[in-house]
């Protein structure tokens, strides 16, 4: 009988588990299979509640909304009022001002992602070198990310108030007669909303970048210095390439998240002024629950999902070319 030490490091892949199972002092093959089956059963039982909830609240509604996107339905009347209209909803999208303006706004809003990442990286590099008060500064910068977005929206609305808010009061005191009216101006409303989200999100990016930075071994920097690299070259050839896994992760999740923005729009601008800040997620809500056109809203939602899926697929393909793993 083999004397296997159970204290050795367990293998991490299936082949290793098989080998370890084989090495255990169980004589019959049936016993080994039973053990694995029991563990698999236990695993399924443990994830069953979560899977059940996920199916009922996510998978089934998503499939239902696919069916709904081919119908015209005022949900107040129940399912008897469902009417199938084929591709009519999708055909109506290109001529719908609310949809096209929302799409345009979402594409502009997606710029939030690289800007937030840039700020996150900048602050991460700074905090990596700066030793004093590091954890205090890190917590302070991360705080907006965990604050309720409604609270953030409410406070920034006061700060950006076009007549009495601190920002414009300051600009008036500098002698400016007509400072921008921020959320009350078609040109400035979207940049203002973008600014607020950059402010709220770069803490999260910074924390991830800090973790990434701290995993770069010192030897690489020293080797580069021996070769005569200055700070810019170090950034270009060491820091940025080795942070590409983090960058890629933040880019994918950031873009997906930017297409889902809703709460700030609903609280601060309700899509206004005019159609300056209407977003696809807000348009879905308004079409379904204010105009009572559930079928049409579902079609907008599915188009949104397809757009996000395409963008994510492009990014995933780009990952193979760009991301450096070592």
């Amino acid at each position: 009988m083999k004397n296997v030490s159970l204290k050795s490091q367990p293998a991490r892949n299936a082949a290793g588990i098989e080998a370890a199972a084989k090495a255990l002092p169980i004589s019959s093959k049936k016993g080994m299979g039973r053990l694995l089956r029991q563990e698999a059963l236990a695993g399924y039982l443990l994830i069953a509640p979560n899977l059940l909830i996920y199916s009922v609240f996510v998978v089934i509604p998503v499939l239902m909304s696919l069916v709904l996107s081919f119908t015209d339905w005022n949900f107040v009347g129940g399912f008897e009022k469902l009417k199938f209209v084929g591709f009519e909803n999708f055909a109506a999208l290109p001529t719908d001002t609310w949809f096209t303006d929302s799409l345009r706004n979402n594409l502009q809003y997606a710029l939030v992602v690289p800007i937030t990442m840039a700020f996150g990286l900048l602050f991460a590099m700074f905090l990596n070198k700066f030793v004093y008060f590091r954890s205090f500064l890190r917590s302070m910068i991360f705080m907006p990310y965990i604050t309720s977005s409604i609270a953030i929206a409410a406070v920034w609305m006061v700060i950006f108030h076009p007549s009495y808010g601190p920002i414009n009061s300051f600009l008036y005191s500098l002698g400016m007669e007509n400072p921008p009216r921020w959320l009350g101006s078609s040109a400035w409303a979207l940049p203002t909303v973008m600014f607020i989200n950059v402010w709220g999100g770069f803490g999260y990016n910074m924390v991830l970048y800090l973790a990434g930075l701290q995993s770069i071994p010192q030897e690489i920097y020293e080797a580069a210095e021996i070769d005569g690299a200055g700070p810019i070259a170090k950034f270009r050839f060491i820091v940025f390439p080795l942070l590409t896994p983090t960058t890629f992760f933040l880019l994918v999740t950031g873009v997906i998240g930017s297409f889902k923005v809703f709460d700030i729009i609903n609280v601060m601008t309700q899509g206004g002024p005019g159609t300056a800040t209407t977003m696809l997620a807000y348009d879905v809500y308004r079409t379904g629950f204010v105009f009572y056109k559930m079928g049409y809203a579902s079609s907008i939602a599915w188009v949104l999902m397809i757009i996000v899926a395409i963008i994510t697929a492009i990014q995933w393909w780009g990952q193979r070319k760009i991301v450096v793993e070592y």
């Binding site: 107040v76 108030h161 101006s185 002024p273 629950f289």
Partner: protein, 487 residues
């Protein structure tokens, strides 16, 4: 592994069965002993989109169910009382509580309980979701024609014609927008005239008299003369809360003036542009109303602006009376005078400015429709007086004006000091024979409302000229109506 510890297999078995048991236990809804229809409906709404809000309804009403069942138990009735659930948007203490108490006392076999839903988008979705569950809603109140029409067209409302008998809504309440497709969908209860509230002290300071009959031009002139000061402490002459600027056209030509026919809008009519230009003049040239950007950015409310003296005149509905009466909560040092709504130069308004609202209907999925009709019939006639102390006046033509006035002024101490009662009587009860400028058409109403808000906001923020805004409104409204008419 020694014999003292549980083996890994047994631990996994134990943990998974404990987790499964906990999940199943937490899924079971809180058991309520009373055999009412309400708790059985609790699991049903969770499938609907507004899952979070719907589940709040049963929790909110477990308290009221205790009182009626206790009252019923002490009477030892031969049959269990029918329970009606009444959904409305008014805060419970502002009328519904008193109404429910009055009804429950005289009708021990039909007990009513009130469920309040906030009258905003989310609250209306909550009500719409509840309407799909059997027996969750018996009596519902819709605010505005559009929500009522959406619910009726969606099949959630029971037409009233089968219950009417000799009761003729048109005779009792006047011709209102509660009837289409040859059916009555609701009774409209609340008479809400719209008129101008005036700060008497400001009028006296400016040397102006309380007007009894005036045009829109004179109104704008008053507003200019009543504006005083500048900066954060400025007092404006008038106040507009929403971008909609077309009320002068509606009270002069009727509520359907924005529709040329069912599928075309009428926004090329020059009256709309004229009304819009007047309001732009008040904001930009006369500076007699607060800039629209400020109103929306700070979410200014009409009653607080008027009662704190930030605006000298307020053109609003009679719902403001509730705040005028509550002097303790809104202390002020001026008397409130009243003036009728201005009219166009070509003559007095053919309609009585205001709205009829509080549309009460029976839900299609209610299990107690006859009982619900009894309650509605009582509430809309004699029972509505319970809502009057809080500013709601019934449209019922059988009402006695003196009773209503007494009910409103009853607990208002020193009212002579705070409001001009004769003016109040004139604006509240004058012109009762005229009809409200009801809009009977509601095609694409929600979309057109959104279009108006968007285009008019841009005018008031100085980004579009009024003529261009009206052209855009006409174009987009026609597109929305064309889409709605295609079906």
């Amino acid at each position: 592994m020694t014999g003292k510890m549980i083996s890994r297999r047994d631990f996994i078995r134990l943990a998974s069965s404990a987790a499964a048991a906990a999940a199943l236990a937490s899924c079971a809804p809180a058991a309520t002993p009373a055999p009412t229809t309400a708790p059985t409906a609790a699991p049903v709404p969770t499938k609907a989109p507004a899952a979070g809000e719907a589940t709040k309804a049963p929790a909110a009403t477990t308290a009221p169910t205790v009182a009626p069942t206790a009252a019923a138990a002490t009477k030892a009735p031969a049959k269990t009382p029918v329970k009606l659930r009444w959904w409305g948007g008014v805060p419970e203490a502002s009328g519904p509580k008193q109404t429910v108490e009055a009804w429950n006392k005289i009708n021990p076999d039909i007990q009513v309980e009130y469920v309040q839903y906030p009258n905003n988008t989310e609250g209306n979705v909550k009500l719409d979701t509840a309407l799909q569950a059997d027996g969750e809603v018996d009596v519902l109140v819709s605010y505005g024609l559009n929500p009522l029409k959406q619910r009726a067209d969606g099949g959630a409302i029971e037409p009233l014609d089968a219950f009417l008998g000799a009761f003729d809504p048109e005779k009792e309440f006047g011709k209102l927008d509660n009837r289409w497709d040859n059916k009555y969908w609701a009774l409209i209860l609340n008479s809400q005239p719209r008129f101008v509230y005036l700060n008497k002290k400001a009028l006296d300071d400016a040397g102006l008299k309380v007007p009894t009959d005036w045009t829109w031009e004179e109104y704008m002139d008053y507003a200019k003369k009543l504006s005083k000061g500048s900066g954060p402490t400025k007092r404006y002459g008038a106040f507009y809360q929403f971008p909609d600027s077309f009320e002068p056209v509606r009270v002069s030509k009727g509520g359907d003036v924005s529709y040329k026919d069912d599928c075309t809008s009428n926004y090329e009519d020059p009256l709309f542009l004229a009304a819009l230009k007047n309001r732009v003049q008040m904001q930009d040239a006369d500076k007699s109303v607060a800039p629209f950007g400020d109103v929306t950015a700070a979410k200014l409310q009409p009653y607080s602006e008027f009662l704190t003296g930030k605006t000298a005149m307020l053109l609003e509905g009679s719902w403001i009376l509730r705040y005028i009466k509550a002097v303790k909560d809104n202390p002020r040092d001026f008397m409130v005078a009243f003036a009728p709504m201005p009219h166009m130069k070509d003559g007095p308004n053919p309609f009585r400015p205001g709205v009829g609202d509080d549309r009460v209907s029976i839900a299609k999925k209610s299990k107690n429709k006859d009982a619900a009709w009894q309650f509605i019939k009582w509430w809309s006639t004699e029972g509505y007086i319970n809502m009057t102390p809080f500013g709601r006046v019934t449209l019922w033509r059988g009402r006695k004006a003196e009773d209503t006035i007494q009910s409103f002024l009853g607990d208002f101490t020193d009212y002579q000091k705070y409001m001009d009662v004769d003016g109040y009587k004139t604006v509240m009860f004058g012109n009762s024979d005229k009809n409200y400028p009801i809009g009977f058409k509601a095609n694409a109403a929600a979309e057109i409302g959104q279009i108006n808000t968007e285009e008019l906001s841009k005018v008031f923020l100085g980004e579009t000229k009024p003529e261009d805004a009206m052209k855009n409104i006409k174009k987009r409204a026609d597109e929305a109506l064309a889409k709605a008419c295609k079906k």
